[in-house]
Symmetry: C2
Subunit: 197 residues, 2 copies
């Protein structure tokens, strides 16, 4: 089983979202998607500044994002160096929707990621989130719920569980409990899955 | 040309030191080794705490080191979670030696890495560093120099240049100027070198 943790505002999370399903299929592994807010784990739990604000590393990461687009032929419309707009509403919706109907939640996650990175959508606006959910096939009767208080609780619980399991960044993968941080681990994960045991 | 930056106390730098020469040969690239002190870049320049002290990430990195040993069949005798003993003397010697005779310096680097990680040698002791240098074929007449003031200056210059180029961690690779941080980039580097241009 692969548990895939991601933040909608993380470009590397977006890149991983485009590759993780093929990896899971190649290895016959189940896949569960978990929204997290990296601002909470990184800043509050770890006590670190935002990635782009760290001297040397901030500039390096910008270059990494550009190179990844180039190598994997994925162009981002949104400039990753622009300060992120928190995706709180979309993350809450995702947390609740994944409990109700995980397949629909995955469709929603793909649509929300594309909206943020390709159309610069504001994933903190309930109306935007509702429109994305409807376009992803969520029934109109569910919309109120995934934009309401139950969704707030679902995300809080999801985050607490993630931190308890040691998850701290985006993307982060737990594969039968083994932790892997970063989109650059996808190649290592393949090696690890194919290792002699 | 590959510029390879490493800290002797970095387990991932050690792992990279065992793989980088084969990568350079496969791609017909020159290779230059550069000692750096990550304590200086990470703590002084970037303002971050030591990696193992960061909540969640510290524990994760310990697990990553264990997994890497397993996957690549490299066993470390020294516990990577033990606080590092700065490798100042060895790094100074390496900085000067690499200007005098780069091939000898690479032999020295391999020997010093093995001494630290396999025999828990103290790379901040000039006598230990001198013994490693002699075992790596450095002539006795050079020893005083690589343990003296010129070596101090050489390391300071090496570090200033590295930071000016955006280098901040170990291992770090500049390949014709393109920056790559972390041993997990070795697979990505292969893809990048083989990309369509």
């Amino acid at each position: 089983m692969i548990d895939f943790y991601f933040d909608f505002v993380s470009p590397f999370g977006y890149f991983a979202s485009l590759r993780i399903e093929a990896l899971a299929r190649r290895h016959n592994l189940g896949l569960r998607w978990h929204p997290i807010l990296v601002g909470v784990t990184v800043m509050k739990v770890m006590g670190l500044p935002p990635l782009f604000d760290i001297p040397l590393k901030g500039d390096y990461v910008k270059r990494e994002v550009a190179r990844y687009q180039d190598l994997f032929k994925i162009a981002l419309a949104r400039d990753p160096a622009k300060p992120p707009v928190t995706a709180l509403a979309a993350s809450r919706a995702m947390a609740l929707l994944s409990r109700i109907d995980h397949d629909a939640a995955v469709q929603f996650a793909h649509a929300a990621y594309a909206a943020y990175w390709q159309e610069e959508a504001d994933l903190n606006q309930p109306a935007t989130v509702a429109a994305i959910a409807i376009s992803a096939g969520v029934s109109a009767s569910e919309i109120d719920r995934i934009c309401g208080d139950a969704a707030k609780t679902a995300l809080r619980e999801e985050m607490d569980e993630a931190v308890a399991k040691g998850v701290f960044g985006s993307p982060f993968f737990l594969i039968d409990g083994e932790p892997f941080f970063g989109v650059d681990k996808l190649e290592l994960i393949e090696m690890w899955l194919l290792r002699e045991r």
